[in-house]
Amino acid sequence: MLDLFNIIAAQTTEAGADLNQFQQITKEFGINGKMILAQIINFSLVAFMLWKFAFKPVIATLDERQKKIADGLQFSEEMKNKLAEAEQKRNQCLQQAQQEAQKIINDAKETAKQSTKKNLQDAVSEAEIIIKKAHQSISEEREKMINEAKQSLTEVVIQTVRKVLNKNLSAEEKTAYNKSVTKELAELK
């Protein structure tokens, strides 16, 4: 126990020696503890003031700008996505339009083909009708001509017979004819 006390006493003596040494050094370097404390307080105050009125608004502004940039980037990303989507849609629409256009062209070609075919059929039918009518007309004309010729011939024959009978039928023959028709009339009753 005594030893321990001696050790501590020794150490305390050593510590006192060290303290003196420390005080000597600080004195040599001109370090004043109170001044340091005051400087610390001043520094703290300045740091607080700077933090409060300079750094904080700047940081807030920076955060805001950061946020704005982030929003801008997000917006840009969204726009990019939308643009891509719009591009895709446009391509789809374009493809669809192309398909529809192709379909319309095909339909138009088919319709034109059918129309041409129908027109051809109509033309053929019309031509057939015209030919038929022409044949009919020719036939009718021919029949008419034959009838006219027949009538003319009959008329000529009748006129000739009339003239021949008028010229060559003698009075006796006429009387005999009259007698025969009178007889016929008498038989009619």
């Binding site: 009959t154 009748i158 009339r162 009978l165 008028n166 023959e173 009259n178 007698k179 009178t182």
Partner: protein, 135 residues
């Protein structure tokens, strides 16, 4: 008393019946008697119209009693008598005739009584042949 037109026509027909003799033929004597009677007894206001109807009835009756015989060539009177006899029997009334020589008939006889025509002429036969060929 006033008669309507239709009644006057009926009266004219009755007067025509009175104008015939016993054989049913129109008699000039009977017609004269009828005319005298009408003149004497019928009101003068409608006399003209009745006479008109009576005249038409008499004309119609005369036409019905008259046959126009057209012929070409010659026809002997006995044949005409035969025709008249036949026609009279057919129509059951006495028929008088008017004969006409029409050379256009060529030969044969054409008889016309009112609207009835009997044509046996050669001209008619030629016309029938012509019509047949034309139809």
């Amino acid at each position: 008393m006033t008669y309507s037109n239709s009644k006057l026509k009926i009266l004219a027909k009755k007067l025509l019946q009175v104008s015939r003799d016993e054989k049913g033929n129109l008699s000039s004597q009977q017609v004269s008697k009828v005319l005298a009677l009408i003149k004497k007894q019928f009101p003068s206001r409608q006399l003209r119209l009745l006479l008109k109807h009576y005249l038409n009835a008499v004309k119609q009756a005369l036409l019905q009693e008259q046959a126009i015989i057209e012929y070409a060539g010659t026809i002997v009177p006995s044949e005409i008598d035969s025709i008249v006899k036949t026609i009279s029997q057919h129509y059951n009334r006495s028929i008088t005739t008017i004969e006409k020589n029409v050379p256009e008939l060529i030969a044969g006889i054409k008889i016309r009584i009112v609207d009835d025509v009997y044509n046996t002429s050669i001209e008619q036969k030629l016309q029938i042949i012509q019509r047949k060929n034309f139809s």
